[in-house]
């Protein structure tokens, strides 16, 4: 033991010297460790699949081979390993490195091939070939009391359980924390007896997770507390403390790390042969080297569990305590610092991958969702600001329209407006039409009476100018006498007697008579036809009235106006034509028939104009 411790001391010293540059070493270790974890994970998967000893052996061999290769390739080691040893469990039974320093990593890996890998990688048991040649000097080391190992593992398990309990807090567990803790421990109890013991002891030891206590224990060399073994566990604790302090997000990291280190299935472990277990235990002894980095702890946590069942049977790891204790006593503070730093760093680094990912995922998730919420709110607000609620049908709030959009016309409103407008238009149009139908001027104009009257007026004006000019220039007495006759005749026309005198005479015959007397080639067909038609209508109307059928007064009024306008227009036309013909004829016609004709037409003004024209013709 002493020699061991001595050697350990020396080794530790040597390491201590090196640990002066621990930062670099740690860094290196960390780098390696991360890699290892990956490796472990991979191999574990394989193991689970195969699940039997052979497979495990094969795996172990492979791993060893891999480890060797790695060792060969990587000459630079964090620790100044002088005497390497075979790391593989199989080989470990036969070959044991004399130097613990060299042995440390392989021992840690011993329990399970996967861990072996990790240890290989970490500790660089590089000089494997030489280790093979090393004789079994480790035999005495295999004696260590099982209890210690148990304790050590127990610590590990405690931590493990605690960690699990902390991390695997499902809602159920939160409701019954104590239960959950037990439940997590329960499966292990069923499979492996020792675990229970550890569980029992766990809390007590955990309570001493105080560094001061730990120091005291170390200094006192209390065998029961075995702080050297827990050393790694302490670090676990501190690691966990740091982790918990870091935040909830990092719990995921821890979980991943722990699961990564993954405990082998109890069944698989149970199948391990006794010899192997012994060999493993021996290696475990050697594991307790002065290099208690977290990687060691990690391995321990898994290794211990694996060995837990074997614990009591397999020989203790006697020098482990001493080694570690000795190492730690020498380089306590350094180790503590290093280990803590390592643990935190490793945890941090190991967590960086998943933890940071988780952190970022969480942050990113919240960021994205939050941003989306903000955007949605903004959009809603913008929409509400830019739009105005429109009055929908039946007063209900309808769609929203943009404020700068013109108010959309309401269909029903538009239809109503159109209907009223059409009604108004139709009404006004109808009224207009009715007014027209009863309007003499309109009807007279429509029958060209107005144009003819205009033309007649123009002719009359023209003749009047000629008469005046003739009068000014002087005319002979005969002409003046004729003009006097015409004037007298014209004056006589205004007498009512003369008007009434000719009222009863048959219109058609009288007109023809007058035209014959006038002697102008004018066919009064239009005038006569109109007179006949209108008289016929009057006759029919009177007949129906006599029969008792009443006519609408308004219709009668309209018809009267229409008839009058039409007849007047025809009369004016006739006079206009007669005047033109008379003027064209160039010879003065008889004045009397013109006046009579005009009288017959019962239009005083026309007669007057006719008289004027006759006078003008007389003058001509």
């Amino acid at each position: 033991m002493d020699s061991d411790t001595d050697s350990f001391h020396s080794a530790s010293d040597g390491e201590g010297v090196e640990d002066a540059e621990d930062a670099e070493d740690i860094v290196v270790n960390k780098g390696v460790e991360i890699k290892d974890i990956k490796d472990i994970k991979v191999i574990e998967d394989v193991e689970v699949v195969k699940g039997d000893e052979e497979a495990e052996d094969v795996e172990a061999k492979n791993v060893v081979a891999k480890g060797r290769k790695e060792a060969e390739q990587k000459v630079v080691l964090p620790t100044t390993v002088t005497l390497p040893s075979p790391p593989s469990p199989n080989q470990s039974a036969a070959i044991h490195s004399t130097t613990l320093i060299a042995e440390q990593p392989p021992i840690a890996t011993a329990p399970s091939p996967s861990q072996c890998v990790s240890e290989d990688a970490i500790a660089r048991p590089a000089k494997l070939p030489p280790s093979k040649s090393v004789p079994k000097e480790v035999a005495p080391i295999e004696e260590p009391p099982v209890a210690e190992d148990d304790e050590g593992t127990g610590w590990d398990v405690d931590d493990w359980d605690e960690g699990e309990a902390d991390q695997l807090k499902t809602p159920d567990e939160e409701m019954a924390p104590s239960l959950s803790a037990k439940s997590t421990a329960a499966p292990r109890q069923t499979t492996t007896q020792p675990i229970r013991n550890r569980d029992d002891r766990g809390p007590s030891t955990l309570q001493k997770n105080n560094e001061d206590d730990w120091f005291e224990n170390q200094l006192g060399g209390d065998a029961e507390n075995k702080p050297d073994r827990p050393n790694s566990l302490w670090e676990w604790g501190s690691f966990k403390g740091i982790v918990s302090a870091v935040g909830e997000g990092f719990s995921n990291v821890l979980e991943s790390v722990e699961t990564g280190l993954g405990a082998p299935t109890p069944e698989a472990l149970a199948r391990l042969s006794l010899a192997e277990k012994e060999a493993l235990s021996k290696k475990v002894d050697m594991v307790k080297e002065p290099w208690p980095a977290t990687d060691h702890d990690d391995c321990d946590s898994a290794t211990d569990e694996a060995l837990s069942d074997v614990g009591s049977e397999v020989g203790g790891i006697p020098n482990e305590d001493q080694c570690s204790s000795g190492y730690q006593s020498d380089s306590r503070s350094r180790d503590l610092d290093a280990s803590q730093a390592l643990s935190s760093l490793t945890g941090g680094v190991a967590g960086t991958a998943s933890g940071l990912t988780g952190l970022f995922t969480g942050v990113g998730k919240s960021l994205v969702s939050g941003s989306l919420d903000v955007l949605e709110t903004l959009g809603k607000k913008t929409f509400e600001t830019l739009t105005v609620s429109e009055q929908g049908a039946k007063g209900k709030p309808g769609k929203r329209r943009l404020i700068f959009q013109k108010e959309r016309p309401n269909l029903s409103k538009v239809l109503r407006e159109l209907k009223t407008q059409v009604d108004v238009d139709a009404k006004s149009q109808q009224e207009e039409e009715e007014a027209r139908l009863a309007n003499f001027v309109y009807l007279f104009e429509k029958n060209e009476g107005m144009v003819h009257l205009e033309g007649l007026e123009m002719l009359s004006e023209s003749c009047s100018r000629q008469v005046e000019s003739a009068l000014i220039s002087g005319i002979d007495q005969e002409t003046l006498d004729q003009l006097d006759v015409v004037r007298d005749m014209y004056d006589g026309l205004t007498d009512e007697e003369s008007l009434s005198e000719t009222a009863d005479v048959a219109f058609e015959s009288e007109i023809k008579n007058y035209l014959k007397r006038i002697g102008l080639a004018y066919n009064p067909a239009k005038l006569l036809e109109t007179d006949k038609r209108l008289f016929d209508w009057l006759y029919d109307c009177q007949t129906t009235q006599d029969l008792g059928e009443m006519k609408e007064p308004r219709d009668l009024h309209r018809q009267a106006i229409r008839s009058l306008a039409e007849f007047a227009a025809r009369c004016v036309e006739t006079l206009h034509k007669l005047a033109q013909l008379m003027l064209v004829a160039g010879s003065a016609p008889e004045a009397k028939p013109f006046f009579d004709f005009s009288n017959t037409l019962q239009h005083g003004e026309i007669s007057a104009d006719g008289g004027c024209m006759v006078a003008a013709l007389v003058l001509l």
């Binding site: 003499f440 144009v451 123009m458 003027l583 007057a608």
Partner: protein, 211 residues
């Protein structure tokens, strides 16, 4: 029926050149091969649309006979537009244009738009007056020129409407005083006519008689 403006047209020209046929084609869109001699003046009317405005054209179709020449002069007054028509198959109708133009210029307002129309363009084989001669005459006297065919209705509408457009343009330019009916332009009725006049009431000419 309501209109914004009423333009008075007068159609003048030698007898038999197709004045009445042009009017018939324009107002009734029909052609009457044999037409009675016009006594004095006949009337036609039609609504057209220019620049979105309804314009009523009141057309005075005068007799082309020399005997009526004296009375037709009486009708020039108050015409906004005149269609001076000649027959492209009769050189003499073209030769008389100058006298007709003198009459029109003498008895109408100076702003009257005159459209020179070479009618019977469908009788190309019997053409005696080249189109270029008509164009030259129109250019010389500041007239609008157009060859038409009352038979085929070629350019008939255009002749009437282009004249109306020219009158309308002059109105827009302020050349015509639309409030002076002597220019041959009347504003349409602004509102429906008042109550019907009695026959005796329609005596605006009472004081206009001579003597």
């Amino acid at each position: 029926m309501s209109y914004a403006y009423l333009f008075k047209y007068i159609i003048i020209g030698d007898t038999g050149v197709g004045k009445s046929c042009l009017l018939l084609q324009f107002t009734d869109k029909r052609f009457q091969p044999v037409h009675d001699l016009t006594i004095g003046v006949e009337f036609g009317a039609r609504m057209i649309t220019i620049d979105g405005k309804q314009i009523k054209l009141q057309i005075w179709d005068t007799a082309g006979q020399e005997s009526f020449r004296s009375i037709t002069r009486s009708y020039y007054r108050g015409a906004a537009g005149a269609l001076l028509v000649y027959d492209i198959t009769r050189r003499d109708t073209f030769n008389h244009l100058t006298s007709w133009l003198e009459d029109a210029r003498q008895h109408s307002n100076s702003n009257m738009v005159i459209m020179l129309i070479g009618n019977k363009s469908d009788l190309e084989a019997r053409r005696e007056v080249k189109k270029e001669e008509g164009e030259a005459f129109a250019r010389e006297h500041g007239l609008i020129f157009m060859e038409t065919s009352a038979k085929t209705a070629a350019n008939v509408e255009e002749a009437f409407i282009d004249t109306a457009k020219e009158i309308y343009r002059k109105i827009q330019e302020g050349v015509f005083d639309i409030n002076n009916e002597a220019n041959g332009i009347k504003l349409g009725p602004q509102h429906s006519p008042s109550s019907p006049n009695s026959p005796g009431g329609a005596a605006p000419m009472t004081g206009s008689g001579c003597c």
